[in-house]
Symmetry: C2
Subunit: 625 residues, 2 copies
């Protein structure tokens, strides 16, 4: 299974160090000392263990490599050059605009599966890759994850250790590069490799402690790890930061800095071996072919009622029936988010992530990197726990979907800790994200099907309690669209709402009609992108725009509408009606009433705003249009 003593490990390691010094020197940036500590691990892995068809990076028989310590990117690029994936000219483009070799790895380079650079995330994605290979692709290929020792302080790493053993991922092999030095000095555990090993073992892993610069020991550990199939393995490698890089070897104070004297280091390393080592061939696994049939979404009769979270679950099943690439993960809330319906219908494509939102997103990223279409879900209040994983997914261009249920005040008695009132703001700021909030069951179902087709991060916000069905089952809802639910030539104001408060807006319309005030109601189910055209038309045709949201006032729907109106120079006044104080516990209806987010409250806001109109067009509260 492995290389022999004639394997060119020494030459390979030397070349890796030479090339990572050259790459970082050429860019004047990077982390050469963090790469040098891992060079021997990479040399033996690449020369003797790694299966890869360079020409077919997505081959299901390829081993996967994740650089969880993404700052050692120069070592990864040197390694990819060693394996023949990139050439020397490209190596020296490291960290320059337009290069595929970014300062931290991104999947713009086809042999990189996931973006890394925010620590403690690569191993979480590795769990997703390993789940894909072992459970879905039935491939004997392995996932190797190179971790730094500093990042072992991130709790997300232990979520990954926990889940990898829970799922018996014998195909997952982590290597911890224990160089003992973080960015600002010694790590908490220094070179105590035994402490890392004990922790890993307690989490159900096989742990192998080695000298990370002894090629024989590295090879033996990799042999044992790849021969162990019942549980994941971790190789805890004692290393030296900057190993063999001349005078900086083992020194503190050299994190994240190119060498000031690269020539000295290069001189000490000797001549460039000019090696290109063909990796071992990929395992023989057939390419998976995805099947797609027509989706038979659930249909809810208009006039009935259903919770959008239930529609989410039922639509997931339908989408999963039609598409065998859809996989679902949930953070031990499946009976609330209704992801459990999918778990029952497609148990082989459902992964319970327990209460570990970061790992849930990390696994989804790994699964998406293998071509799956993952949906993840939990209570909306806890979705932001995984914010940085979503951020990194977006940076990697990896499409994952996240559904937050029980949004806003609807958790009632549970109180503020369970209320998501910040989630829309958080996910709206994610690069290239789509944020959708349905207000009825048929819309929710349609948006689930839409989300499956989108190639970017999608946040879907559902609600706890049944709400009236107002749309026909057959209706479609474009991303970036909206629905004008009520409109008349004499409309004096427009209410723009999203999610369950749409129904309160319709109620407000009824109340105000009795007073002779006609209200336009727009269902802005697509919060990002937002339907600017419809909003500007409404601003043009009515005297006032009121946004209504079950969310705090900053960053959500109200801000999205404000951006549109202000950018267009619309003089029509906006009132952002939102949750303005930290809510208490209480009955759901009482809380919505207290926040003015029921029909009565919305009507009052509209009435007051129309009354407050002042004659001054600019410089204070004023109407226009």
């Amino acid at each position: 299974m492995s290389g022999s003593q004639t394997a060119p490990w020494d030459d390979a390691a030397r070349q890796l160090r030479i090339d990572l010094v050259r790459a970082t020197a050429s860019s004047g940036s990077g982390h050469p000392t963090s790469g040098a500590s891992a060079a021997d691990l990479l040399a033996v892995l690449g020369a003797s263990h790694f299966h890869l068809d360079i020409a077919d990076p997505r081959h299901p028989g390829n081993d996967r490599f994740v650089l969880s310590k993404g700052h050692a990117a120069s070592a990864l690029y040197a390694w990819l050059k060693l394996l023949g994936a990139i050439d020397d000219e490209e190596l020296l483009t490291y960290a320059t605009p337009g290069s595929r070799l970014e300062g931290h790895p991104r999947p713009v380079l086809p042999w990189v599966d996931v973006a890394t650079g925010s620590l403690g995330q690569g191993i979480a994605a590795g769990v997703g890759l390993a789940l894909s290979l072992a459970r879905l692709e039935h491939s004997p290929a392995r996932v190797f994850v190179l971790c730094g020792d500093s990042e072992m302080a991130e709790g997300s790493v232990w979520e990954a250790f926990d889940h990898a053993s829970h799922y018996g991922l014998g195909n997952l092999i982590a290597l911890i590069d224990v160089n003992g030095l973080g960015q600002r000095g010694p790590t908490a555990l220094g070179h105590e490799t035994a402490a890392y090993a004990r922790r890993a073992e307690a989490f159900g892993w096989q742990a192998l402690e080695i000298d990370g610069h002894d090629h024989e020991q590295i090879d033996a550990a990799l042999r044992l790890a790849t021969a162990t199939s019942d549980r994941p393995s971790v190789i805890v490698a004692r290393t030296e930061k900057g190993h063999r890089l001349g005078s900086v070897a083992g020194l503190d104070g050299w994190h994240g800095r190119p060498l000031t004297d690269a020539d000295e280091a290069l001189e000490g390393l000797g001549s460039h071996p000019g090696l290109v080592l063909a990796p071992r061939p990929p395992f023989d696994v057939p390419q998976r072919r995805s099947e797609r049939r027509e989706i038979a979404l659930p249909a809810y009769p208009v006039g009935g009622s259903v919770a959008t979270r239930l529609a989410y679950g039922e639509a997931l099943v339908a989408v999963g029936d039609a598409r065998d690439d859809v996989v679902v993960l949930d953070a031990e809330t499946g009976n609330s988010t209704h992801a459990e319906l999918f778990a029952k219908a497609h148990p082989d494509r459902f992964f319970e992530m327990f209460i570990a939102e970061q790992q849930m997103l990390g696994a989804a990223v790994g699964l998406a990197a293998r071509g799956w279409t993952p949906f993840t879900s939990t209570f909306a209040a806890f979705t932001t726990r995984a914010f940085d994983f979503v951020r990194m997914a977006a940076i990697g261009g990896t499409a994952v979907r996240l559904c937050g249920s029980h949004s806003g005040l609807s958790v009632g008695e549970s109180g503020a800790s369970g209320m998501a009132l910040e989630d829309v703001a958080c996910f709206r700021t994610i690069a290239n994200s789509v944020v959708l909030q349905p207000c009825d069951g048929n819309q929710a179902a349609a948006l689930v099907a839409t989300a499956a087709d989108l190639d970017q991060f999608v946040y879907l916000r559902t609600s706890r309690n049944p709400v009236p069905v107002i749309y026909q089952p057959a209706e479609t809802f474009a991303v970036g669209g909206s629905r004008v639910l009520a409109s008349a030539p004499d409309d004096v104001a427009t209410v723009v709402a999203s999610g369950i408060v749409v129904h309160a807006a319709l109620e407000a319309r009824g109340l105000l009609r009795d007073e002779g005030l006609s209200l336009r109601v727009v269902d802005a189910y697509s919060i990002k992108p937002i339907d600017a055209e419809t909003l500007l038309k409404a601003a043009d045709e009515t005297d006032l725009v009121v946004t209504v949201e079950d969310h705090y006032a900053e960053g959500g729907l109200g801000s999205a509408v404000a951006e549109v109106l202000a950018e267009a120079g619309s003089g029509t006044r906006l009132v952002r009606h939102a949750v303005r104080e930290i809510p208490t516990s209480g009955k759901v209806a009482v809380l919505y009433g207290a926040a003015g987010l029921d029909g009565k409250g919305i009507a009052a806001v509209v009435r007051t705003a129309l009354r407050d109109r002042s004659p001054e067009p600019v410089g204070g509260p004023s109407p226009a249009g």
Copy 2:
């Protein structure tokens, strides 16, 4: 040290179960089965081990209790009634508006230190409380944290275990209520108490496995744990969910639901003992008196240059010199954020949190709950990792401060993973938050001093590279204020900027002046609250407002300004100039140039926007005002 066999443990436990059933039945909500599994632990703790002066909840000699499994709030309230802190009438107000007994605990109740309800956070706060007692208050009091078993899946829990042993917190005692059932079914580890114990031991804790319904075993474990001073202890208690609650005992499917037949459960529990047990008296510790002297902030000469992150570090030292209540935590980035200056000046009040942002915020919350004034810091890109901890701090009304350094594109070659382009949006949506971004050293220093005085969450955003000093050392900067840096009667447009791009805005002003276009420049250092008055005056007096931010376009400064203009019905057009694409790696100046965030780019945006003015006042791109 402990109660005897005559201690009324049985009666106390029975009373706790009766009262938690009554409280949840009265509210028709809550988690009685999650409380019942922990009732015996609480009974023995309260009857025989817990030191507390009910009348003086903040006494430094009081033990602290944190309900990390916040959903068992009814058990906590029953326990506080048992100890004489609240009466029966208040108990039955559980989860109703206006009650101090919220669905999940909040510090509106004076015996509650921190808000819980988002899992895995109570123990992180417990680390902060224990650090305060052991390291800062020199109190022998202990911190007891009751954890659920489901929440052990959260990585943040293991960050807490890691830090508690690193700091040798022998005064921290965790109790894990291993009832084996999460909200949607069995937990990953079920009743494998040995697995929890192994993990805790591997993280350096003493672990004691017991039957969590055997009062003698609980007492013995608490004796041993409280007698162990060299490391934290965890009592891993095997329990039954819904223990003794009639027919629901041990059943799945009863999470988060009040009993449908409370009477049956109450009948089975027997008569109410009507106990009130005086807790043990507080330890004899003197009250700390905080000292405050005048703050001698660093002073940077106008015309020189300094990085705002360095000013942060130097100002922290000054504030720490003047106020002995200021404590600082950093996530192993102190040499970059410059928090290490404080570490050197005040080593006893600095806590290295390694790369564990969640634990950093959790510890800060615990420290703040003991009256300290914590500042935390890391790279801005990684601040959002702790978003949910900030959310919970805000819900608890606990004042913590977070400084994100190296914001925006300024990390250059590192690439997108290290660039914070979402942080302002995230922290602006936090309830009652303040978001500040200084553009020079004196402003940064002044805002650090201001942040120390604020009683809410403050996010301070600093930058990597030196920038010109433009403000006098003596200047003060009010929260909610701004500075008009350039203004003339013939201004045609206003640029609103914040942080380092303020200097680019001033440069753009110079470029446009040469073309005969006069530009107003506003430094909006206070992003939340924002200075609406100055903005509306500018919108009134100029034809165009351009916001400039080193951040994505959604939710940040541009949105804040859009909200002001739209709410006022200003017809002046807004252009939100922000980062619109995921950046690549590259030299800092190249990246700012590519994003149009240098003087030339801003001038071009202003020029184009002025040229694009159309005559239509509403319904499309247009000027007004």
